[in-house]
C-alpha cells in the first residue's frame, strides 16, 4: 500500500479560533441541589415573615412562620406521644391505603379489559371516559348516603378518584408494544395470555406506574375531601375543626403532616417503580424520594 496524500492538506486554520468547546451553563444551574432548595425555602419563609410583619394580612388569616413552627412542633409531639391526633392520622392512613388498594385492583382490571379486548375498548371505554370527565368529588354525598359516615365512604371516594388514572395508564401501557414485538411473540406461537403477561404488561409498566403515581396523589385528595364532606374522625376532620376555630397555624401544620403522608405514598410507588422497571429511566420518579 502506498501512502495516501490528501489534497489540499488538512491544516489548522488559524482563523478558526479556539476549538475548545465548552457547554455554557448558568452558575445558577451548577449550585448543588440541596443548597438551591434551602435557598428557595429561606426566601419563601423570609417573604412570609416580611408579609406577617407588615401586617397587611390579618394574623388570623396568615400566622407568622414562628407560630406555625411552634404548632408544627406541638402537633408532632402529639403524634409521637400517641395523643388524640394519632388515631385520626391512623384513620386517614387506613382510608388512603384501602382506597389505593381498591383503586389499583379496579384500575388494573378495567385497564386490562379496556386495553386488551376490543369489546372493552368499544363498549366500556366510552362510559369510563364519560365518568372520568365528571367532577368526581361531587359524588361524595352519594357515597356518604350509601356507605355512611365511617371510613367506607372515604375509601370509596378515594378509590373512585384514583381508579381512572390507573385505568388510563394500564390501557395505554398495553398499547406500547410495537408491531415487531407482537410479530415476534406470534412467531413463537405465544397464546394471548402469554403475550399479555410476558410482553404487553412488562412493556407497559412505565405507563402503568405513571397511572399509579397520579392515582397516589388522587387517593389522598379523595380521602381528605371525603372527610371534609362526610365527617368521621380522620385528619381531614381535624383540619376542618381547626379551620372553623380560625386556628390557622394548626391548619397549616396539619396540612404539612398530611403532605408527608402523601409524599411517603408517592415515594413508595416511585421506589417500587425503580425496583421493578429498572430498565426505564423515569424523570418524574428521579426527582422525588
Amino acid at each position: 500500500m502506498t501512502a495516501t496524500t490528501v489534497t489540499p492538506r488538512l491544516e489548522e486554520d488559524p482563523a478558526a479560533g479556539d476549538t475548545i468547546w465548552t457547554e455554557r451553563t448558568s452558575w445558577l444551574d451548577s449550585v448543588p441541589r440541596a443548597v438551591s432548595m434551602a435557598v428557595v425555602f429561606a426566601v419563601f419563609v423570609g417573604l412570609w415573615q416580611f408579609v406577617s410583619w407588615l401586617e397587611v394580612v390579618s394574623p388570623i388569616i396568615l400566622p407568622t412562620p414562628g407560630e406555625t413552627l411552634a404548632d408544627l412542633i406541638f402537633v408532632g409531639q402529639n403524634l409521637l406521644s400517641g395523643g388524640y391526633m394519632l388515631p385520626a392520622l391512623w384513620i386517614t392512613m387506613k382510608e388512603v391505603f384501602y382506597g389505593f388498594a381498591l383503586a389499583i385492583f379496579l384500575g388494573f382490571s378495567l385497564g386490562v379489559l379496556v386495553g386488551e379486548t376490543s369489546f372493552g375498548e368499544r363498549a366500556i371505554m366510552p362510559y369510563l371516559v364519560a365518568i372520568d370527565t365528571m367532577p368526581k368529588v361531587a359524588f361524595a354525598p352519594l357515597f356518604v348516603a350509601w356507605l355512611g359516615f365511617g371510613i367506607e365512604s372515604k375509601v370509596a371516594l378515594a378509590a373512585f378518584i384514583a381508579t381512572f388514572p390507573i385505568i388510563v395508564g394500564t390501557a395505554a401501557g398495553l398499547h406500547v408494544a410495537d408491531e415487531n414485538a407482537r410479530m415476534l411473540f406470534k412467531t413463537m406461537g405465544a397464546t394471548r395470555m402469554q403475550t399479555l403477561i410476558q410482553m404487553k404488561l412488562p412493556m407497559g409498566l412505565p405507563q402503568i406506574f405513571t397511572g399509579l403515581k397520579i392515582g397516589a396523589v388522587g387517593v389522598m385528595a379523595g380521602a381528605i375531601t371525603g372527610e371534609f364532606l362526610g365527617g368521621g374522625k380522620g385528619f381531614g376532620e381535624l383540619i376542618r375543626v381547626a379551620a372553623s376555630q380560625l386556628n390557622t397555624p394548626r391548619v397549616f401544620s396539619l396540612i404539612l403532616y398530611l403532605s408527608l403522608l402523601g409524599l411517603a405514598l408517592f415515594a413508595s410507588v416511585s421506589w417500587l417503580q425503580r425496583k421493578i422497571v429498572f430498565w426505564h429511566k423515569d424523570r418524574v420518579g428521579e426527582t422525588h424520594a
Binding site: 415487531n180 410479530m183 413463537m188 410476558q198 412493556m203 430498565w279
Partner: protein, 272 residues
C-alpha cells in the same frame, strides 16, 4: 415464473435436486383495510438448505410475502406448504428475524434467547436450554454478555443476540426481514458471513429480504426480484458463485456482473 435467458451471467439451467422445503403456489394478498393488492400470483419453491433473497423497491410486498410464509397473516389466495404441511399459523420449524433486534429490556441476554423455549415449553425447558444459549452466544462472539441487560448492548450485539434467539429452537427455515439493515457496513459484512456459516452448518433453508444487492448476491443461491403494484415476482436470478462465499468475492468480475444485472432489473422496473 420467468426463467432467465441464457445471455445473463450466472444462469443455472435446472432446479437443484434438493428436497423441497417450501412450496408457494399462486399466493396473493389483498389487504382488506385499504384494498391494497400487496401480492399477486407468487409461486416459488425453496429447496432444503438453499439460500434465497428477495429484492425489490419499497412497498412491493416483500414483508407481506415473508409474513405469509411464516403463517403470521393469511394469504387471500393460494397456499403455502412447508415440509409437507400447509402453513396455517405460527410454526415451530420457522425462525424469524426482523429489522429491529427487539430484545426485551427486562430480560437478560440469555433470558431473551431462551424466550421462545419458555413460551413453547415452559420455564423448566427454558432453564435447560440455557446451556445451549451460552454455546450460541459464544458462536456469535457474545461470550461474557449472558447476564447483561439489552440496553447495555450495542445495535450489532443486540442483533447477534436476536440471531441466537432465532436459532435456539433449531428451526429448519430462517425467514429474515432486513435483519442487518440497521447495522454499519463492517458489522453487516461480518454478520452476513456468520449467517452463511450458520446456515451451512445446520443445513437451514434461508429466505432473506434485503435492500442491498451485494448482500443478496454474496449470500444467495437465488435472488428473487420483485415488482410493485401489485407485488409479484419479476425474475429469479441464479447466483452460481462457488461456496463458501467470502467477502473478497465482491471484487471479482463475476460478482460485479451479477450486481449490475440485478441493478438493471430494478432500474427497469422503476422506470416502468
Amino acid at each position: 415464473m420467468i426463467l432467465l435467458s441464457t445471455a445473463t451471467p450466472g444462469t443455472a439451467t435446472a432446479d437443484s435436486p434438493r428436497a423441497l422445503v417450501y412450496e408457494l403456489s399462486d399466493v396473493g394478498k389483498t389487504y382488506a383495510r385499504n384494498k391494497v393488492v400487496a401480492l399477486e400470483n407468487v409461486s416459488l419453491t425453496l429447496g432444503k438448505g438453499s439460500f434465497s433473497s428477495v429484492i425489490g423497491s419499497s412497498g412491493c410486498g416483500k414483508s407481506t410475502l415473508l409474513k405469509i410464509m411464516a403463517g403470521l397473516i393469511p394469504p387471500t389466495t393460494g397456499r403455502v406448504v412447508l415440509q409437507g404441511r400447509p402453513v396455517t399459523g405460527a410454526r415451530r420449524d420457522i425462525g424469524m428475524m426482523f429489522q429491529q433486534a427487539t430484545l426485551f429490556p427486562w430480560l437478560t441476554t440469555v433470558e431473551n434467547i431462551v424466550l421462545p423455549i419458555r413460551i413453547r415449553d415452559g420455564r423448566a425447558a427454558a432453564a435447560r436450554a440455557r446451556e445451549q444459549a451460552h454455546d450460541l452466544l459464544e458462536v456469535v462472539g457474545l461470550k461474557g454478555f449472558e447476564t447483561v441487560y439489552p440496553n447495555e448492548l450495542s445495535g450489532g450485539m443486540a442483533q447477534r443476540a436476536s440471531i441466537c434467539r432465532m436459532l435456539i429452537t433449531e428451526p429448519a427455515v430462517l425467514l429474515l426481514d432486513e435483519p442487518f439493515s440497521a447495522l454499519d457496513e463492517l458489522s453487516r459484512d461480518f454478520m452476513n458471513m456468520e449467517l452463511q456459516r450458520i446456515c451451512t452448518e445446520r443445513d437451514a433453508t434461508a429466505f432473506l429480504v434485503t435492500h442491498s444487492i451485494p448482500e443478496a448476491v454474496i449470500l444467495s443461491d437465488r435472488v428473487l426480484v420483485m415488482k410493485p403494484r401489485p407485488g409479484r415476482l419479476a425474475e429469479i436470478v441464479e447466483i452460481d458463485l462457488p461456496r463458501p462465499r467470502t467477502l473478497d468475492m465482491v471484487t471479482t468480475p463475476k460478482f460485479g456482473k451479477l450486481v449490475d444485472y440485478i441493478r438493471n432489473l430494478l432500474d427497469k422496473e422503476a422506470d416502468a
